[in-house]
């Protein structure tokens, strides 16, 4: 296995024509040796293009790909030792499962005895042992995708394996099993892997680090926890998490020297840690808070609600183990989503208090996160 470095990659389709599109724009990332990575982003953000550049199916307009420090940008896929699993299972259906698994080895001139040994090892790992002599066209998309995966990892010299939304054709009920076997294979062989998907759940469960792309650029490449807790901008904040981060446009004021976010008539304190980073003259500011961090209190007449902002519930949704409530801050048009326990008794139209703990608030200026230095 190997370290794969993506250096300043830029790719333009149809350059010089009216259809010119920049698919990937100056992307830099390093996939560490043996690491599981995911590439996440909305459809059309350049994920597949980047993947094909890494595997060598596309030559980038600019930039280079390095495998273990060696520049392979100009090498064809066959000489890069990178395997790729496609969106739908690519199977050579004139051969049985054994023939499919043996195909890349035979093309590389590996002796038959070694081929057989490797096939049995892979078949055991992927639980395909009983199917080696079946015709793949009778097996269905899930097993075919496993055969395609097996073909990817069977070569002893595979540097990395790339997955291009491999679960698209897989029935939802089978996804978990297939994903588990993919993950087991990745760990067993300590394969450097890059898994493209637009499903964040899939990305976060497969990968140690997730790269998020938007409009051809790499927005953040980080661990799942960091993406959730410390998004670099509002896009990541909203994109990661279900539902995403609440992003509330605010004005800035100052009270006793400390910056205060102002939403309509309501003031919200910002964490002390970022005070020095905030300029009170800024406009286009947002505060972000995860629905799970919002504290909800039912309004009881006479009870002190100093820290709580008054709000009115407009929607209550049951999402399995918990409920998501949507409430509008009173005297504003600002909606906030909050997560409460599944048995929390609340109804649409109820008046509640919402509290945003200062340490859980992210502050964004012009969509970029402001962090403590």
């Amino acid at each position: 296995m190997a370290e794969v470095e993506v250096r300043d990659i830029r790719h333009v389709y149809d350059p010089g024509t009216p259809d010119e599109t920049v698919a990937v724009d100056r992307v830099n990332m390093t996939l560490e040796d043996g690491s599981a990575n995911a590439l996440l982003g909305p459809s059309g953000c350049g994920k597949t293009t980047l993947l094909q550049i890494i595997s060598g199916l596309l030559t980038p307009t600019e930039g280079s790909i390095l495998i273990d420090g060696e520049d392979v940008t100009e090498l064809p896929p066959a000489d890069r030792d990178i395997a790729q699993v496609f969106q739908f299972p690519v199977i050579y259906d004139s051969m049985d499962v054994y023939g499919n698994l043996a195909f890349p080895l035979r093309n590389g001139g590996v002796p038959e005895a070694e081929i057989e040994e490797r096939i049995h090892r892979i078949a055991d790992l992927l639980e395909l042992g009983d199917l080696l002599h079946s015709n793949p066209s009778n097996l269905g998309p899930e097993l075919n995708q496993l055969v395609a995966l097996g073909r990817g990892i069977i070569r002893a010299d595979t540097s990395a394996i790339l997955f291009d939304e491999p679960m698209t054709d897989v029935e939802p009920s089978r996804k978990l099993t297939i994903r588990r076997r993919v993950k087991e294979a990745q760990q067993e062989f300590n394969i450097t892997a890059l898994y493209v998907t637009h499903d964040q759940h899939e990305a976060l469960t497969f990968a140690e680090k997730v790269a998020i792309m938007r409009d051809g650029t790499l927005v953040q490449y980080d661990t799942g926890e960091n993406l959730y807790q410390n998004p670099v901008n509002t896009f990541i904040g909203h994109f990661i998490g279900s539902p995403g981060m609440n992003l509330l446009a605010c004005d800035l004021t100052r009270q006793d020297g400390a910056p205060l976010a102002q939403i309509g008539p309501h003031s919200i304190a910002v964490s002390d840690a970022v005070h020095s980073e905030i300029d009170p003259d800024w406009t286009d500011c947002q505060i972000g808070i995860r629905p799970s961090s919002v504290v909800v209190q039912k309004a009881n007449p006479g009870e002190s609600t100093d820290d709580y902002l008054p709000a009115t519930v407009t929607q209550v949704e049951m999402v399995g183990g918990f409920q998501i409530i949507t409430a509008y801050l009173d005297e504003t048009e600002v909606a906030v989503k909050a997560r409460v326990a599944h048995d929390y008794a609340i109804e649409e139209g109820a008046s509640i208090g919402l509290r945003f703990p200062p340490d859980d608030i992210q502050f964004f200026h012009q969509e970029q996160a402001i962090r403590a230095s």
Partner: protein
């Protein structure tokens, strides 16, 4: 209301029965009769069939037909497939190629025969003049060999474009991921053709082979115009034989029996080829 589906099928059934069932049954009926001009037809049983199967002219025509169809298939299918693979897959040349390929298909059969007749005329034809340079005396009216290969080349010129178009459509429908995977799996161009292109074209190739088999069995107008079935009966194929029997010879009974035999031969060949091709190379172990 159980009959309602049949009501909707009725127009189609009527049309099919007018165009196929009734003529077919009429032919079956005729084949059992001896029909001579000026007399009442009378029942002959299988006599017509026996007479035809024993007729040396029929056996000759059938032999020539099988040879001709065989040569047509082994030339046109690989040639058409090869051309389809070489054709540009995108860009302005696609349209140009498609139009050029479409031209022979748009020309009526007898006109194709006439065009080639002009090509081969001894006085003004381009082919005799061309072969004259090499000192070869080309003549389709006296040389069986010349007549044969000219009919064959004419058919290839006329019908290979159809095979190209069918294969081209099939190739365009193969997902490009297959080719990407083959590249990643280090497959050579030959192996890519053998394990990606060819298996994915199985369906369209079956269609192309069956169409060309059945059409080549039916070849009539072109050789009729070009060679008139000669020299001698060297380019007389089954259809020419059948029409001579039925129309030229006024033997409707014999003609009908010939048509039926002819019909069953085409069905038999098509069926065998269909079954063989369908099972060809399905999920085998792959070569070593």
């Amino acid at each position: 209301m159980k009959q309602r589906p049949w009501l909707f099928l009725l127009p189609a059934l009527l049309l099919v029965s007018l165009s196929a069932f009734i003529p077919l049954i009429t032919v079956i009926n005729y084949s059992q009769l001896t029909i001579l001009p000026g007399t009442e037809p009378y029942f002959a049983g299988l006599e017509n069939f026996v007479a035809i199967l024993e007729d040396e002219a029929f056996q000759g025509a059938l032999g020539r037909q099988i040879l001709f169809s065989f040569l047509v298939l082994i030339t046109e299918i690989p040639l058409g497939l090869g051309l389809a693979i070489c054709m540009p897959k995108e860009g302005p040349w696609v349209g140009v190629c498609l139009v050029l390929l479409g031209i022979p298909l748009l020309i009526p059969w007898n006109v194709v025969g006439i065009i080639w007749r002009v090509f081969t005329r001894s006085d003004i034809g381009v082919l005799p003049a061309f072969f004259d340079w090499f000192g070869y005396s080309y003549s389709i009216s006296s040389s069986t060999f010349d007549a044969w290969w000219t009919v064959l080349v004419m058919d290839i010129w006329h019908w290979t474009p159809l095979v190209v178009l069918i294969c081209y459509a099939g190739i365009q429908a193969i997902p490009k991921e297959y080719y990407m995977a083959a590249k990643i799996d280090r497959a050579s161009p030959w192996k890519t053709f053998r394990y990606v292109t060819l298996p994915n074209l199985r369906g369209v190739l079956i269609i192309a082979v069956l169409l060309r088999l059945m059409d080549s069995f039916k070849i009539y107008a072109e050789p009729f115009v070009l060679t008139g079935g000669g020299p001698g009966s060297s380019t007389t194929f089954l259809s020419t034989y059948t029409s001579r029997m039925a129309i030229g010879g006024f033997e409707m009974g014999r003609g009908a029996a010939t048509s039926l035999i002819y019909f069953f031969i085409v069905i038999l060949f098509s069926f065998v080829i269909y079954i063989v091709m369908l099972n060809l190379g399905q999920g085998a172990g792959g070569d070593q």
